[in-house]
Amino acid sequence: MKKAIVSKNKLYTLIALLVVIGLLAFLQVNSAEYSYPISILERSAIYAVVAVSMNLLTGFTGLFSLGQAGFMAIGAYTVAILTIPVDNRPSVYYVNGISPVIENLHCPFWMALIIAGLLAAAVAALIGIPVLRLKSDYLAIATLGFSEIIRAILAAPQLDRITNGSYGLKNIPGFPNLFAAFGLCALCIGLMVLLINSSYGRAFKALREDEIAAQAMGLNLFHYKELAFVISSFFTGVGGGLLAMFMRSIEARTFSISLTYDILLIVVLGGIGSVTGSVLGAFLVTAGREWLRFFDNPLTIGGVQIPLFRSGFRMVIFSILLMVVVLFYRRGIMGSNEFSWDGLGRLLKSIPARLSGKYKSKKGENA
């Protein structure tokens, strides 16, 4: 009996996967027609990668790091420098000229993504040595500081011939097709899930729960913190590279503190400590931000123009939403639980009861 239920869930997963692949194939064939939804979905998937990598640190290891934007910048610039077609380079670097070191450096995008991740991880390893000795809020502010330092270095005039300074880099080749984009994102998230479920993942969770107890159990605190930090930064770097391929042109200003806050919003909304929550949060936040665009346009009801609706209102709504989640639904959508078909079934069954107001949610139980 037990076995039958498990295989039923596997069947559901398989069906869901096929539906997603079918949808992707459909979008791929009609990509010209659906370019706007495709761009939203791609951005969501990329943010999901970065959000899960942030969750790996914040939710699973208990290290509150705010350096995401900096590592994304490293990844994005690496991918940009390595993949811009050599023929296009003079036109990209038309102001300052290109440094001879990188003039003929070129490699396929998948290799560039791996290098981007490795570079971000290497920087993280260096930064981690001093920074990871710090506790909660000092760690947050120090990583935030490093993210700003990285951005300052990338924008520095001394590096103009490599990063093209304030002009940014453009003509970055995009994804060859939708399957590459979503497949890469899924691969990254899948690898992180494998890590979280491994013995290393259990060590991370032990750290999160109680550092001193974990140390007493023989875990080398610094070793595991550094490991989590480096791996998370690797995937953040890859995510930055993917973002560069998605946006096609990047500049240092893209990777400011507010990008980190956006990712944090996703993680908090999805539930700190839930991978599926982060993925769900990424899609909801990115899509929601697009759907809420009507808040930015003037609205007229019955000939009266509502004065509230103008540019910027969308972001105000968004930040209020974040505050509401933080203050009243601290667990986010998923809490620290993962998505499961049984959970979904329970949620669906409880809807009629919830509507009639009889449903009382048990503490600790979340769909």
Partner: protein, 293 residues
Amino acid sequence: MSLTTFLQQCLTGISLGGAYALIAIGYTLVYGILRLINFAHGDIFMMAGYFMIFAMASLPWFIAVPLVLLVTVLLGVSIERVAYRPLRTAPRMSVMISAIGVSYLLQNLATYLFTALPKGYPEIPFLKKIFQIGGLSASFVTFLTPVLTLIIVYVLIVLINKTKIGMAMRAVSKDYDTAALMGIKINRVITFTFAVGSLLAAVGSVLYFTDRMTVFPFSGSLPGLKCFVAAVFGGIGSIPGAVIGGFILGLGETALVALGYSTFSDAFTFVLLIIILLIKPTGLFGEKTTDKV
């Protein structure tokens, strides 16, 4: 570099440092009591800049300035009431995320209400008057800032060491629960702390923006982070520490700009942070704490 230029730069640095010190005190007070980096503090400072623009549009400065101070204090206190008080028993990470959320909200609100374009800061005529001392020339505000900072710090230290509410603040920062058991009204002390912090941020904002001339929605975020670093540098919870941290930061930054490394002047702050945390994690005047299991 001639001696005059050197002194001129020093003067600029000290003036900037004075404004930083005033903001840093706000961080240090709040952190000392709540163990919370009030990420919104820099944005309160920015909002004070906007309040000043609107107050000065129709009022003379001697009414506008007290009004701005009052409104800023109200803003700071209501932020504490709405965003931090409900989370008093929540894990520290939640409170910190809430603080980041408030900062995000204030920035977006400012962008929405006042647009992202920089707005000109009103001039208070006597503050902008140029003074000449020897070869040095600077506006009155440059001389006023450090002096005013030191006076305010003196008053604050007296307040904390000599008055009843000051004693309550010290008690709460030492031990939260015991202070509550002793009959100290914790929430009132915290409200008072936020009021003082916001008041100083408003004063700092008048001095800082009079020199900078423009305000935009993100003009609080980086100074805010820097001033937190100044507070950490001096030892969190220590007022003289925050002031010294503020001055060192102001001088160092001005020196880097003067030497032509202006892109790295922001990075300097964080390098300073890392160094102090590695060498003396409690800051210059910080108290030693030990973790108990």
